[in-house]
Symmetry: C2
Subunit: 219 residues, 2 copies
Amino acid sequence: MSELTPVEVTDLRPIRDIVHEKLRTAIMRGELPSGERLFDTQLAKQLGVSRTPVREALRMLEQEALIVVTPRRGTIVYRLKQEDAIEIYNIRSVLEGLALRLAAQNITHQEIVQLREKLEKMRPLPENLAGYMAVHVEFNSIIIGASRSPRIEQLVASFASQLRNLRGISLTTPERQLLAWKEHCAIADAIESRDAELAEMLARRHVERAKEAYLMQRA
Amino acid sequence: MSELTPVEVTDLRPIRDIVHEKLRTAIMRGELPSGERLFDTQLAKQLGVSRTPVREALRMLEQEALIVVTPRRGTIVYRLKQEDAIEIYNIRSVLEGLALRLAAQNITHQEIVQLREKLEKMRPLPENLAGYMAVHVEFNSIIIGASRSPRIEQLVASFASQLRNLRGISLTTPERQLLAWKEHCAIADAIESRDAELAEMLARRHVERAKEAYLMQRA
DNA sequence: ATGTGATATACTGTTTGCAGTAATTTCCGA
DNA sequence: TCGGAAATTACTGCAAACAGTATATCACAT
């Protein structure tokens, strides 16, 4: 009787959540480009639902700063400016630093093994950008998850995704990509040796480099 | 359920925003205690509006993690656990560190003068907790504002407010209060001398101390 | 008394409709 | 042809009604 876990009442998710997710990914993929005006009535028609769940989804997106709502005027997809990108990189830098400091303390041996596997997978993909990015995402989520801090996880995911639809993501040159890989190796080493301070420092520097690479491209 | 006064339709802000703010402050003040169930129909009646704006407000609060919504089940005010508090302190630590690093770079001379004024105001309030806290909030908002980073500002405000309704906020003992004051002086000095690294370090240590003081109280 | 099933109630999720305001178009005069 | 006022359109904000499901109540059997 003691160890019965509650059932997952996923049932059918409310329409508002489905709409929220749909719009969210559409925005991040750039299918709804920056500056695009959104009409709840139009979205409702397109999605085949009524306006209410659409409006509730818009409230969520508004809270995530993915859209900007001007009362009685309308709603547009937020247009990320360079200063926004800098801000986000700054925040990611310290948050991922924190995440890695905690991860170095909390990561399990098994997770370290997984980490090494991902690293090996990434090594032979010097040119295959898409493949590299996919593994990279897995690598990151293992580490961030090892921080055992859902709030950090959520924040990092949120901010990282906001940059996703930014044109010109860092890993353009092979040199940069190799450098990034080496940085990841160093981070894995630091975590494995439980050096929290070093892991934090490396993570911060890593994001800082990504920021600079981004700024280079549009200088 | 406590006393929620009906909304005044100012015509300027949408009702949903008024409701959002009302609920938000009610939660933070503890008037809507942790674990309290919220019924949109009931809230709508109390506030004298329809369910629609209430529900939109709930979606915003949900996104802020102030409430927890279980679809088809109901809504409760999120009950902050100790691990949540630790998480929030950790995040505040690095975010305020970042804020102060930026502030040291961007603060104006005039803002430094204001900072000094606030510090002087805080000095003669060794026992007047309420007064001290009020000035303290102003002091902080000047510094955080000087980071010139709206996202950081919003995040810090959000996380700080989540801790507000936590029982036993740090400054209980006079010694702790004096220590905090000295820490603030050191921070102001660091900012004034434009030492970004030092300011960041001090800010992080400051929040770290607050965390430890909080943990002490419930040990 | 206790557990089980049926009924009733209450709340959430969604749709629909109505009011008000901003935007757009149309039409008129210069 | 252009500017501006009036009319029209279209969208947002809010309310209320409707549908379905979870919860509570109660009757009844054991």
